[in-house]
Amino acid sequence: MAWFLRSKTPKEKLKVKKLNIPEGLWLKCDSCKEIIYKTELDKNYRVCPKCNHHHRMNASHRISLLIDNGSFVGMDSRITPQDPLRFRDTKRYKDRLRTYTKKTGISDAVICGEGMLNGHKVQICAMEFGFMGGSMGSVVGEKITRAIERAASEKTPLIVISCSGGARMQEGILSLMQMAKTSVALAQLSEAKVPYISVLADPATGGVTASFAMLGDVIIAEPNALVGFAGPRVIEQTIKQKLPDGFQRAEFLLEHGMIDMVVHRKELKNTIGKLLDLLERTKT
């Protein structure tokens, strides 16, 4: 006899009050796996308070980190992507664009504008990794080129924060040409004698590093940021060897003379501010 079976059904179902716990209050650090309170992480510039790991940050957060409160004015946000190749892989490019626009609230992978940084008027561009891996297609190229041109004509320093996997395959050759377009524009900026500070965030690879990201008068990388041209997986497949620890990390690039400094996010604004002070100072 199945004495363990419930012979009677309860007259009324037990009412369990569901606790309303908002999701994502606690996060696990990507590096040390410690549990961190999200607010604490955000307050700490999304840097892990335990191990100093720099977590990814969205573009608008990055701008608010560098630009004086309330002084940011967005530019060129009306530029939206097209689908020149009618590209389709497992999904249509058009559908991907729609999904990412919804997800990030922006029309493509960069936010550009101007604002004040410790009292200096600057042009600033921040790439959004959350939008198709921060990839550069025609819109990213055009917006960055326009920011460069504004910097040249208004003589305001330019800051670009790169966080991108490279050129956007879905726009084919036109994405590759954005590398040339932005680099050619930077040649003009150089003639205008306007400082350009390039900030490399994790990851900065492919077509972005092979163009504007590595052309800064000053190149600053965030600690441990992956910076390179070919991605580590591609290199591993090619040479069929495991890559050494720390390869293509910010500190590795510093050691090899490719960047000027590795700066903690907390120090970034003041470091750039000081640089601009020194560069703009005229002998009195």
């Binding site: 050759i173 036109l174 680099s183 390179g228 041209f229 290199i235 040479i239």
Partner: protein, 319 residues
């Protein structure tokens, strides 16, 4: 050089064999097959025409990588006189995948920079399969500045699968080397003519690709990523190369439509590898025409024209 062929070329090769056989028979036996031979010749030409005019983009990629296709050195030897090769980037080493030097092309002294692949396995290794090291881009830039100093036009011949994905290339800053070339090529005050002769592979190709004119041979390709790379990343299946090549729109007529190149250079019937001399002749005449036009421009106008050309690249909507 025409020893190797691709699957889709097979019908033509069969026909050519037949023609050769008939010729041999008629020569040895004194039988006149000339009518038949003429007929077969016509048929072969028609076949070549129809086969090559409806190639898929993947087949075109294969043709661009054809083992018998002329390489940079072949064109240099066939088009120019007195070529003197110059070596080294003056920083670290000499890259063998990017070659360069000065030569006489018709009436001009020109600097030629070419991306060079190898034909046999030994040479392929020596040329690193056409994948440049950072020193290659830096050598190219050194030669371009040299050309500028003496007011000589620059011709670059693009033929590379792409930059070399190796530890050493990263250590020595290949991203910076490519970026530097794009930036510096915006400032060069002599004419720059870029010709994609085979494979235009991504950043490695673009690093010598910022010109006043960008031309493509009919069966060359130029792409942001190889079909193999694209298939692996987007389809997560390296066998989807045909789909990837199709989606990437990497053929010469695609690029002309997208406004990325200025002109398509016709190849002889059957492709450049079927008649390298004729191809070199066509290329030389095309280069002459562009040189005639560009040498009329002042240094400032050349820089301006090049900058404006690349400023216009891309499509977007502005509301």
């Amino acid at each position: 050089m025409a020893g190797q062929y691709l699957d889709f070329e097979e019908p033509i090769i069969e026909l050519e064999k037949k023609i050769a056989e008939l010729k041999a028979v008629s020569k040895n036996n004194g039988v006149d097959f000339s009518g038949e031979i003429r007929r077969l010749h016509k048929k072969a030409n028609r076949l070549r025409h129809s086969l090559l005019s409806r190639l898929t983009r993947w087949q075109r990629t294969q043709l661009a990588r054809h083992p018998s296709r002329p390489f940079a050195f072949d064109y240099i030897n066939m088009m120019t006189k007195d070529f003197i090769e110059l070596h080294g980037d003056r920083h670290f080493g000499d890259c063998h995948s990017i070659i360069g030097g000065v030569a006489r092309l018709e009436d001009w002294s020109v600097f030629i920079i070419g991306q060079q692949k190898g034909r046999d396995i030994k040479e392929k290794m020596f040329r690193n399969f056409g994948m440049p090291q950072p020193e290659g881009y830096r050598k190219a830039l050194r030669l371009m500045k040299f050309a500028e100093k003496f007011g000589k036009p620059i011709i670059t011949l693009i033929d590379t699968p792409g930059a070399y994905p190796g530890i050493d290339a990263e250590e020595r800053g290949q991203a910076e080397a490519i970026a530097r070339n794009l930036y510096e090529m915006a400032n060069i005050s002599v004419p720059i003519i870029v010709v994609v002769i085979g494979e235009g592979g991504s950043g490695g190709a673009l690093a010598v690709g910022v010109g006043n004119r960008v031309l493509m041979l009919e069966n060359s390709v130029y792409s942001v990523i190889s079909p193999e790379g694209c298939a692996t990343i987007l389809w997560e299946d390296c066998k989807k190369v045909e789909e990837a090549a199709e989606a990437l729109c990497l053929a010469a007529d695609d690029l002309l439509k997208l406004g990325v190149i200025d002109e398509i250079i016709k190849e002889p019937l059957g492709g450049a590898h079927r008649n390298p001399e004729a191809t070199a002749g066509i290329l030389r005449r095309v280069l002459r025409r562009h040189l005639q036009e560009l040498t009329l421009l002042s240094p400032d106008d050349l820089i301006q024209q090049r900058r404006e050309k690349f400023r216009e690249m891309g499509t977007f909507t502005e509301r």
